[in-house]
Subunit: 192 residues, 2 copies
């Protein structure tokens, strides 16, 4: 659940209290009538840095937030899929892109927005891409052509920088935390 | 939300329909009255393989499921923490254990229960542990002493096996998928 709940999803009462349940250490929304506890947990995002003949695939966002800015294909993981399946699905949905030689590239925490990003690297099969519903364009960029000022999210900029410095995933996985920079609003991947 | 919702958390109506929302590709619980969409996504678990003088820390579960079986300290990630903070918190909560030389060790998908496990490796500081509220005992095991038949979850057994074969994390991260084995029920880390 991504908005604050008002009614209990189990009994329908408007009696949610934001308090620490018995035996817990964190405050949760707890129903005062039926006792149901609404847990809210971080969301997992998976995506991919895809290369073809020295160029990197970027997608121009046709959705909010960061409409019109460039990003890697990435999105929220669905139930009953693996991280790798999610990265492949998002690449197909956002860029009609197939991945060869897929490998885990990075795993980052974004605690300010309660998201975790698992980015894979791979070869863009045949160099082919077409914009999906959430993209207005897809294009291949040489390292010199990457539009650094028009990248949609800090976590995407960080992965592009790591990729240009270290190359594709080879078993070694880059890890870390991306925090908001001063003056920036919370940056969220909200494309679904 | 971890149980099937009955009432809309936004408007309280008992009018949820399980269908594909407009512009989406997956079925969700959608409120027929107010249009609210309840997204349900995989849960992230973090934990740790902790070593002290050639022995590995295990915790005996004092909670369901798998009550009385042995496991690594691990649990669901909370909002606004990093993966590493989660692994440290769970180690403290379940085994009063502090971690030195922490490094990401493995990242596995468990699609049948919609969970992702990020396991860290590290040194058990001072070799000290005490059972927390969710454990009835903590103990250090040599590789020969590990109670393979009494390990709580397949994903924990897999991480112990990987650790004994490859040693602690050093930048290389083990990745994969754990599926249910024939005849086994869904295995879930449900300690909170």
């Amino acid at each position: 659940m991504h908005a604050e709940p008002v009614y209990c999803p189990q009994c329908g009462a408007s009696s949610l209290e934001y308090r620490i349940p018995e035996g817990d250490t964190k405050r949760r929304n707890v129903c005062a009538r039926c006792g149901y506890i609404i847990y809210q947990n971080p969301l997992m995002v998976a995506g991919a840095v895809l290369e073809w003949e020295g160029k990197i695939l970027l997608c121009k966002r046709a959705i909010k937030p960061r409409f019109g800015l460039w990003t890697l294909p990435a999105g929220f993981m669905e139930n009953h899929e693996t991280l790798e399946e999610c990265a492949r699905r998002e690449s197909m949905e956002e860029a009609t892109a197939e991945i060869e030689n897929i490998a885990l590239f990075s795993l980052y925490s974004l605690p300010h927005i309660s998201q975790i990003y698992a980015i894979y690297s791979g070869v863009l099969a045949g160099g082919k891409s077409e914009p999906g519903e959430e993209s207005s364009a897809t294009d291949l960029f040489t390292p010199e052509e990457i539009p650094w000022d028009d990248i949609a999210f800090d976590i995407i900029r960080e992965n592009l920088r790591l990729y240009l410095e270290h190359g594709p995933g080879n078993g070694h996985v880059h890890t870390g935390t991306v925090m908001p920079h001063p003056g920036a609003g919370a940056q969220a991947e909200t494309g679904r």
